[in-house]
């Protein structure tokens, strides 16, 4: 429990009417009675400080990787994720999800350790402290919101989220980071002091104080249990993106080896409503826009063009990823056939209805120029499956899965 500042409180009370002083005094006594009931050593500043440091690191990693992933998925005009190294997006997205999962026990333990502070009295001393305590609402509520919606998203549980998940998650993350900065500024000195003081129930400290070690978890044991719980979650989930952990991934929402050509499918052709158009014998890929010789290509004409094979991961914003071998026509080569200028960006348009989310995507100039950016016709040595985007799909390094447009109908040079 945080110590009360009696002098400040009493000074404040002097200015108050007698009735208010009585109420404050009784509330303070009630608050102290509540505090006395929660004298577990786990509710202390040493535990809270270590958990706070771990959470600060985890939230920073989550925020930075999440920011990168959000910008990659909804790129503003000033942002382009580089095309190299090809696993950059896979690593940042995987790190974001795994760190977020590891944060669950850390956050809950932190909230447990500081819970009695909820009853601290008087709750406010002045405006600055009011602002600091007010920031706990976005900090605690926002953190729980981020973890809850993050887990719901990777577990495909959309019903409790009547909002567009990426945008809501993104802005709430900014709010939590703001509140975290307020909290760090307010608690930095407390943390320093608590860590210097050490764990009072450690065996040497208990011996020095002449007290017997308490029954149950010590502070260090509690921290160990929390970090072990985080480890269990990471080990049983991370295999959906970290291949060496695949056999342990008992709680992973996705098996990245299941699917046509051993690659998962996030949206089937039936669900996208493109089955008939995709297998229609009259299919043509149109290349148009800012080019000297716009034209369309039949599937046979595409197959007759020089092909390139590229080993590229497909990475979903829901946290899974799978490495695969893709074969197809380099996008830049196709643009050369229609005399498109160098350095241009393109819009890749799917056979899906234009009203569907992510039915088209923009490929920036750097990605267009990358030789591994393909209009793929084959996956893992097999002709592209209908659910993987037959007859033609985009695959490029360092792009979220939702931007690897499937069932490509048109390439518009911008």
């Amino acid at each position: 429990m945080a110590a009360e500042p009696p002098v400040e409180a009493e000074e404040g009370e002097e200015a108050l009417p007698r009735a208010a002083t009585l109420v404050l005094g009784r509330s303070k006594a009630a608050s102290e009675r509540v505090a006395a009931r929660f004298e577990s050593p786990l509710h202390d500043e040493w535990v809270a400080s270590w958990l706070g440091i771990a959470l600060g690191v985890a939230f920073t990693v989550c925020f930075l990787t999440g920011l990168l992933d959000y910008l990659a998925q909804h790129p503003p005009s000033w942002f382009h994720l580089p095309a190299r190294p090809v696993n950059l997006y896979r690593v940042t997205e995987g790190t974001h999800v795994v760190t977020g999962i590891a944060t669950i026990p850390l956050l809950l333990a932190k909230l447990w350790s500081v819970w009695p502070k909820l009853f601290a009295w008087p709750p406010l001393h002045d405006v600055a402290q009011a602002l600091e305590r007010l920031s706990l609402i976005p900090l605690v509520g926002g953190s729980l919101f981020l973890l809850f919606t993050g887990v719901a998203d990777i577990d495909y549980w959309y019903s409790p989220m009547p909002f567009f998940f990426p945008t809501a998650h993104f802005w709430t993350a900014w709010m939590v980071v703001g509140a975290l900065i307020v909290h760090i500024g307010a608690k930095a000195a407390t943390v320093r002091t608590a860590l210097a003081r050490g764990a009072a129930d450690s065996p040497p400290a208990a011996a020095a104080a002449g007290t017997a070690p308490r029954v149950g978890l010590s502070r260090r044991g509690f921290l160990g249990a929390v970090f072990a719980a985080a480890g269990v979650l990471v080990l049983t989930v991370a295999g959906e993106t970290v291949a060496p952990l695949r056999k342990l991934a008992l709680l992973a929402p996705r098996n990245p080896t299941v699917g046509p050509a051993h690659v998962p499918v996030n949206q089937t052709a039936v669900q996208a409503g493109v089955t008939r158009a995709a297998v229609h014998p009259g299919y043509r890929l149109a290349v148009e826009g800012n080019c000297a010789s716009p034209r369309s290509f039949t599937l046979d004409e595409l197959r007759a063009l020089p092909q390139r094979e590229a080993g590229l991961p497909i990475t979903c914003v829901e946290g899974w990823s799978a490495a695969a071998s893709w074969r197809g026509v380099p996008l830049r080569l196709l643009l050369d056939r229609v005399a498109a200028p160098q350095g241009v960006a393109v819009r890749v348009v799917s056979l899906e209805s234009a009203e569907r989310l992510y039915s088209s995507s923009v490929v920036d100039g750097a990605h267009v120029a990358d030789p591994d950016t393909l209009l793929a016709l084959e996956l893992n040595g097999e002709p592209l499956d209908l659910d993987h985007g037959y007859p033609v799909r985009l695959i490029a390094p360092d792009r979220p899965g939702v931007l690897q447009t499937k069932w490509v109908a048109k390439v518009v040079v911008l």
Partner: protein, 159 residues
């Protein structure tokens, strides 16, 4: 982190260290609240955020944690102290913490509500009720070993 000469706690009447406001407190307050206002603006103006539903969930989770989850844990901790033999309390505490975290994470995987029709066979491919049981069994196996070690240590100390 234990030191030979721990610093003294603040004298009576002196505000706790957290209340001694220095440069970082004021910088944190200004920068942090600036970001919070920036985020609130984004949440209220950007398309698709559905602010009423979002804030209901945000505040609701806060309330559920403080008014339901933590009090339940307090009760559970009291029950463990009264029911579980002394030598096994640490092991049971560890088991309960790890199990609660696993169940909280896996809860959405155990229901049918996530099995919509958007994706192929790779999505939610396992029997999660079985897998959760396996993970919990592994956790409690380790905890049983911890309890056994604690019991043996207690017996040898008694001799």
């Amino acid at each position: 982190m234990t030191t030979a000469h721990p610093p003294d706690p603040p004298p009576a009447g002196e505000p706790p260290v957290a209340e001694r406001r220095g440069f970082f407190f004021w910088v944190g307050l200004v920068v942090g609240w600036g970001l919070i206002v920036f985020a609130l603006h984004g949440l209220l103006t950007e398309h698709g955020t559905n602010p009423p539903a979002l804030f209901r969930l945000l505040i609701g989770l806060n309330v559920v944690n403080d008014a339901l989850v933590v009090p339940l844990l307090v009760v559970l901790a009291l029950v463990v102290r009264r029911v579980v033999p002394r030598f096994a309390i640490v092991a049971v505490d560890v088991g309960l913490i790890a199990s609660a975290v696993v169940l909280l994470y896996a809860y959405p995987l155990l229901g049918d509500w996530t099995r919509t029709t958007r994706a192929g066979d790779s999505r939610l491919p396992w029997d999660y009720a079985h897998n959760v049981a396996v993970v919990l069994a592994a956790i409690w196996f380790v905890c049983a070993l911890l309890a056994l070690l604690s019991w043996r240590r207690g017996r040898s100390n008694a001799r």
